[in-house]
């Protein structure tokens, strides 16, 4: 095949794949819903900043509601409403949602449920919409054919039970009684920081959402609560329910403000700093900053222009954009650290975020070291692409990569979380950056580029290039070989990845030794980290033996990255092991 044609075909294929996924995302978007007047006008800000206790953590109600509503509606908003409104509305007006498509069903069981819906004579258009978006109405869930099908699917432990459980969990979470029994917004009037908070049910009695419920003596059951304050809280709540149902935005806003104010008075010592709660709300209002991938993309475009055409203006623009993106990225991590009170690398969402942050930070250091060489811009570009892809995954797979802030698992509550985990995720970021530069090399070769390779590796090239007047000068000569430069840059990163991955493995073994009683248990996660390392050992030795060093280095760098991603994605989600949390 003509080489130019091949290159064009590869480029077009890449664009087609990106377009296909973008179109898929667009197609599967939730149907747009126009907000009613009440939803648009009710003032929810005080409600968002309410403190709520959730499995041993005090968080903002906004943060809590987002997590719960994501369980209900997956990547979509509940009927187009923001989570705080949706939570309260589901709690107060559950009947309103019986026939609204708010329950998210995973793709794996949609076709099966669609067949059951056909049996139940559901409108074929509704079924098609369900298969497309995955959203179904709670009323549909209770149809007998759907229940029969769910029972059948639940029997299959390996294939479908997990997805049925997720659907059941979503239904349970959307249940008004469950929502109200989790509504632990009232600090214990006399307790300490270990005392469970009270839910609305505990203060106002069971069925406090129902019309005609007698709230008069409800707060008698809460020892230590000032009767006057208890009465005010009850009045606030009654007013909120009444005005909410009457869709009186002004009345509901006033009730929310009063309730929020009174809740802080129940036990001011226990009530957390409202500014921190507000920060948590703001963090989630900013969608956990996952949209920063756009800024990284805006950085990557001029950076690739600089690499291709050596336009200095493009480099400056790219670096400025990268600094802005990195600043926002750092802000996101910092806010998360401050809000959670622990290092943000204890779950998949955080590990990805922290990994690419380390990658971008490392690129600034490396770029400083290579500022006078032809490698300039490559590390910026590689890290920007890695960060962009990682944050895109976070944005477009919110049900898989949940941004909820939770307590750290007991086994992770250790100093090694700071050392081993960071070392490993840094090495993963380096592997990703190396693969990006290696792909540039492969694209360059595909386009007919010279098969040059850095004779003495990555750091070696930097140190030795130009050390003598007659030595290799490809890194500093203006018209240096692009192939050699890309190969040397790949190796600079790979050498770092090689050391950090090995060191991370060793640190993990030390941690495992005193946590699980053995340094190495052949757990899948350990094995595939070792497999990634083996690929890089092969790479190092293949470089010695083959003629086309650059090509094989690039290929193996990409293979190593694929193994690393397999470890991070497939092993975590498909294969259970001791490291399932990371």
């Amino acid at each position: 095949m003509n080489r130019k044609l091949l290159v064009r075909f590869v480029d077009m294929s890449l664009i087609a794949v990106v377009a296909y996924f973008a179109w898929g995302k667009y197609q599967n978007r939730a149907p747009s819903v126009e907000l009613d007047k009440f939803a648009a006008n009710v003032e929810l800000e005080p409600l968002r900043n309410l403190a709520i206790q959730d499995v041993g953590r005090i968080k903002s109600f906004d943060s809590f509601a987002r997590g719960r509503m994501r369980t209900v509606a997956g990547p979509y908003d509940v009927d187009g409403h923001e989570p705080v409104f949706a939570y309260v509305d589901l709690m107060i007006n559950p009947r309103k949602y019986q026939n609204k498509d708010i329950i998210y069903v995973k793709r794996a069981i949609r076709e099966d449920l669609a067949r059951a819906m056909e049996q139940a004579n559901i409108d074929p258009n509704d079924i098609r919409e369900f298969v497309k978006t995955g959203l179904m109405a709670p009323g549909m869930y209770w149809l007998q054919p759907v229940q029969n099908q769910l029972n059948k699917l639940e029997q299959d432990v390996i294939r479908t039970q997990k997805f049925v459980n997720m659907l059941n969990w979503a239904m349970g979470t959307a249940d008004a009684h469950r929502l109200s029994s989790n509504f632990a917004i009232i600090p214990s009037p006399t307790g300490n920081d270990k005392t469970p908070w009270l839910t609305g049910e505990q203060l106002w009695g069971m069925g406090f959402m129902q019309d005609g419920h007698d709230h008069g003596q409800a707060n008698m059951g809460v020892p230590g609560l000032d009767p006057k304050l208890g009465g005010e809280l009850t009045a606030d709540w009654n007013k909120l329910v009444e005005t909410w149902r009457a869709e009186d935005a002004a009345g509901a806003s006033a009730a929310i403000a009063s309730l929020a104010s009174n809740l802080q008075k129940v036990n001011p010592e226990l009530y957390p700093d409202v500014s921190k709660l507000n920060l948590e709300s703001q963090y989630f209002k900013m969608k956990a900053f996952v949209w920063v991938w756009i800024v990284y993309a805006l950085a990557a475009i001029p950076l690739i222009m600089f690499i291709a055409y050596r336009m200095n203006g493009a480099l400056i623009t790219g670096v400025i954009m990268l600094i802005i993106a990195f600043g926002l990225h750092t802000l996101a991590l910092g806010m998360r650290w401050y809000i959670s009170g622990r290092i943000p690398n204890a779950n998949m969402f955080e590990a990805i975020l922290a990994s690419v942050w380390f990658g971008v930070l490392g690129s600034f250091v490396l770029e400083y070291l290579v500022r006078k060489t032809n490698m300039k811009g490559l590390f910026y570009f590689g890290s920007a692409i890695c960060a962009m892809v990682a944050m895109m995954c976070q944005q477009f797979m919110p049900t898989v990569l949940r941004s909820d802030i939770d307590n750290v698992m007991p086994v992770l509550d250790d100093i090694w979380l700071y050392i081993h985990t960071n070392m490993i995720i840094w090495s993963y970021a380096l592997i990703g950056i190396a693969a990006i530069i290696a792909l540039l090399y492969l694209r360059y070769r595909l386009g007919g580029g010279d098969p040059g390779a850095a004779r003495i590796g990555g750091a070696g090239s930097l140190i030795l290039d130009g050390s003598t007047p007659k030595g290799d000068r490809f890194l500093i000569d203006e018209r240096g070989s692009t192939g050699k430069v890309l190969d040397a840059a790949t190796m600079v990163i790979l050498e770092l990845a090689f050391v950090t991955l090995w060191a991370g493995l060793v640190m993990g073994a030390i941690w495992a030794d005193h946590s699980w009683g053995r340094p190495w248990g052949w757990d899948p996660k350990e094995v595939f980290a070792l497999c990634t390392f083996v690929i890089f050992i092969i790479l190092v030795h293949v470089r010695f033996k083959v003629r086309d060093k650059g090509l094989w280095t690039a290929i193996l760098a990409v293979v190593g990255c694929a193994v690393m991603l397999f470890n991070w994605i497939v092993i975590n989600f498909k294969i259970s092991g001791l490291h399932s949390y990371a």
Binding site: I158, R159, P196, I463, V506, G517
Partner: protein, 778 residues
């Protein structure tokens, strides 16, 4: 690295070829590639789409190591992997010695290769000596002394545990009624702290009370009288009966149980100590049966091939009660939740059985019916009757039982009419329904109403027919049930009287459908609605019963008998996380002229009695067996045990939680678990040692890790136990390798640069010297 091409140019020498191969870098690369492939498949298995026509649909994986019955540890200690590692290490050593000169520049490579060799040696030592297991340690037992008892009794502190002790005046009962691990102390020096409180329900021959005891605070022990409160309030004394002595005692653990091992435990009934027989080579994952008829399978379409096995289980102790018998494991089920009794068609006595499918509204249900024992079936006999007929006469007789037969007899005229009651043809349903005359009599009749299930005063529900009988001006409204003695006439609107003898009415509410089979199982006739609707049917044929209901006879047998077998759960219904919890082994005991087999369920721990069982976690179900010499023994399948260096007791267990944590039992709110242990050695209890997550305790070369806990009452802790010989050698190797990498990538180029610059400077110097020494033309 030296070039290999020099050796490649030499003429082929068969003696030298292996040496050249083992010192080839390419061979090393090839070995690394094989190692990569092996590790990937051994660890993750092979992933593939569930449906190959839908590659973007759900995927699953074939766990290859389980096919070979290897655990993760075993598959990486298997000979193919060991061979690959040995060749790789040898290759690395030879290549290093032969091709890489030990120079300052090559020091890094030597360090990396040397580090890996040290790591490998450390790992060989580590895995060869590795012992790993776990053990539960219960918090306390209660030692019980009652007046007149021969010896003290022990009661393990677990909810609902109970013990009965014979003593003076009769039997004394003790049961743990509740445990509160966080009982707040409201007085005394430790006011504000919490302690573990245990309530013991005590039943003596004369009274019943609850004794509340606090671990670590014997002075606070007091009795509570049900309905009256603390004994001290009503009697002035804290204890109602001081002759009953209850005291806490440690419940030390002396053994731990090896991971992924198997052992048979046996003891005579009545003894407390188990005798252990290790089972070597028992598969970890496979279902091994001698023949398909060994088991029932939860799904009929599951293909289970016979795969016999025979593992001898020799005795290792002299006091083994099975010493005179040959003991073998001849089967294993990986996932079997229990036994099930099903009916098989090979009985010796007549016991006809039929399986039918009823189809209504798209919903199908399968039922079994027994002709001679209807109660064994799961069909309402009033809906479907099933009979076995030896001849045509019986067949017709059974057919007559179909439908709601009403017989009206006029004794004076000896005239009888008989008909099936049609619920649609009653006066209640049809106001214009006319009387029907009984031939040759003055009487006529019509059915007023029919109730299939009419509530009687005693809560019983019976079928009932109200029939109106008319003769001239006489009108009898008779209520008739399936029991002729209950027939009554309604006088007026409410009053009942005994039936008028002028007319006899009998109602026989037969089944709606009657199936009669026999004398051969395939000779089947179905009577639908009435004895007149008689249809021969074939097995497997679907036929209409009316009202949208259809029936298919699936199987028909004349001689069935019950057979009990273990149920093997189909693979797709197994919980992958269950491990071997539901596994069972088939044990075969043989002597010269005696043989028996028993299916033994897996026990995580071979506890001495049921007091240690924890529902849902630790089962205790030993299997009894009567030996040919009349000895009754108990058999139990569990894991191999090892002695702990010293008995280990649980002094205390602490749960650390986040703010308001562990409210709803959600472990995400737990911060840490802490076990405070006390080893017993040198004749005394030693100082406590503490283990928590990420902080193991060490005692006598064994390490104790916090592995499990009892989330309810915190009555026990689960400890991981293991040694770690060789760990520091491994660590040394990895550190050497890390240093080597840093040297190769970052120090070596600097040295090289300095040397090059030095050489270049020398060349420059020489050039200058050459220029200055250039001969001048004279």
């Amino acid at each position: 690295m030296q070039n290999e091409s020099t050796s490649a140019r030499r003429p082929f020498n068969p003696l030298r070829a292996p040496y050249d191969l083992i010192s080839s870098v390419w061979f090393g690369i090839f070995l690394m590639f094989l190692l990569f492939i092996y590790m990937s498949i051994a660890s993750a298995g092979i992933l593939h789409p569930l449906d190959y026509s839908k590659p973007f649909g759900p995927w699953t994986r074939w766990i290859v190591r389980e096919y070979f019955n290897k655990t993760e540890m075993e598959v990486f200690a298997w000979w193919p992997f060991t061979l690959l590692m040995a060749l790789f290490t040898l290759n690395m050593i030879v290549v290093t010695l032969r091709r890489i000169r030990l120079t300052v520049l090559n020091l890094g490579v030597w360090l990396i290769h040397g580090g890996i060799v040290v790591l490998t040696l450390g790992s060989v030592y580590y895995f060869a000596n590795k012992l790993e297991g776990d053990t539960p340690v219960f918090r306390r037992s209660i030692v019980i002394n009652v007046p007149g008892a021969e010896a003290p009794s022990r009661l393990v502190v677990r909810p609902q545990n109970k013990v009965f002790v014979p003593g003076d005046g009769g039997e004394y009962g003790f049961s743990i009624s509740s445990i509160n691990p966080n009982w707040p102390l409201l007085s005394g020096e430790d006011k504000g702290k919490t302690a573990c409180s245990v309530n013991v329900a005590v039943t003596t021959p004369t009274q019943t009370f609850i004794r509340q005891m606090l671990i670590g605070y014997p002075q606070y022990t007091e009795d509570i009288i049900p309905g009256k409160g603390r004994a001290v309030k009503s009697t002035g004394k804290k204890l109602l009966d001081e002759s009953i002595e209850l005291a806490f005692a440690y419940e030390p653990q002396t053994k731990y149980y090896i991971a992924d091992s198997a052992a048979l435990y046996v003891r005579k009934v009545g003894e407390s100590e188990w005798v252990e027989r290790p089972i070597e080579g028992l598969p970890h994952y496979a279902d091994r049966i001698t023949q398909r008829s060994d088991v029932w399978v939860s799904r009929d379409d599951e293909n289970v091939e016979p795969d016999p096995m025979d593992i001898p289980v020799p005795k290792v102790a002299e006091n083994d009660p099975l010493a005179s018998l040959d003991v073998h494991v001849t089967g294993r089920l990986h996932y079997s939740t229990g036994d099930q009794t099903r009916w098989v068609p090979n009985g010796t006595k007549l016991n006809p059985m039929m399986k039918v499918i009823l189809d209504g509204g798209g919903h199908q249900s399968e039922f079994s019916m027994f002709a001679l024992n209807p109660q064994l079936g799961d069909v309402d006999p009033s809906m479907v009757g099933y009979h076995w007929a030896e001849n045509e006469q019986q067949r017709i007789g059974y057919g007559q039982t179909t439908g709601n037969l009403l017989s009206i007899r006029v004794p004076d005229k000896d005239k009888t009419v008989r008909f099936s009651v049609d619920p649609a043809k009653t006066l209640d349903q049809n106001k214009d329904l006319q009387f029907t005359r009984i031939e040759d009599t003055d009487w006529s009749y019509r059915v007023k109403s029919y109730h299939r299930s009419f509530p009687m005063g005693n809560g019983r529900r019976v079928p009932i027919v109200v029939v109106e009988l008319q003769s001239g001006d006489r009108l009898i409204k008779r209520w008739v049930t399936d029991d002729p003695n209950r027939s009554q006439d309604l006088i007026g609107d409410q009053q009942f009287s005994p039936p008028d003898p002028a007319v006899d009415v009998v109602f026989r509410p037969g089944a709606l459908v009657t199936i009669v089979a026999g004398p051969q199982p395939e000779n089947i006739e179905v009577f639908v609605g009435s004895p007149d609707d008689r249809r021969p049917v074939k097995i497997g044929e679907m036929f209409d019963l009316g009202s949208g209901i259809r029936m298919k006879i699936m199987e028909s047998y004349s001689h069935v008998q019950p057979e009990t077998r273990p149920v093997l759960i189909a693979k797709q219904d197994r919980d992958p996380k269950a491990g071997n919890v539901f596994s069972r082994i088939k044990l075969e005991l043989n002597s010269d002229n005696w043989s028996t087999t028993k299916w033994l369920p897996y026990h995580r721990y071979p506890f001495p009695n049921e007091q240690y069982a924890v529902p849902g976690r630790f089962v205790y179900r030993p299997t009894r067996c009567l030996l040919p010499d009349g000895t009754q023994v108990e058999l139990l399948f569990s894991r191999r045990s090892e002695m702990l260096p010293a008995p280990m007791a649980l002094e205390d267990f602490e749960l650390k939680v986040h703010t308001g944590g562990f409210v709803s039992g959600n472990t995400a709110s737990v911060r840490d678990f802490v076990s405070i242990l006390r080893p017993y050695s040198d004749g005394k209890w030693q100082s406590p040692i503490t283990t928590s997550l990420n902080s193991p305790a060490e005692f006598a070369d064994l390490y104790y890790f916090q592995a499990e806990w009892d989330p309810g009452e915190m009555a026990f802790t689960g400890l991981g136990v293991g040694n770690r010989d060789g760990v520091y050698t491994q660590l040394l190797g990895t550190c050497i390798a890390v240093f080597g990498m840093i040297y190769v990538f970052y120090i070596k180029p600097v040295i090289k640069r300095r040397r090059q610059q030095a050489v270049w400077a020398e060349v420059e110097q020489n050039k200058k010297m050459a220029v200055t020494k250039e001969p001048v033309a004279v």
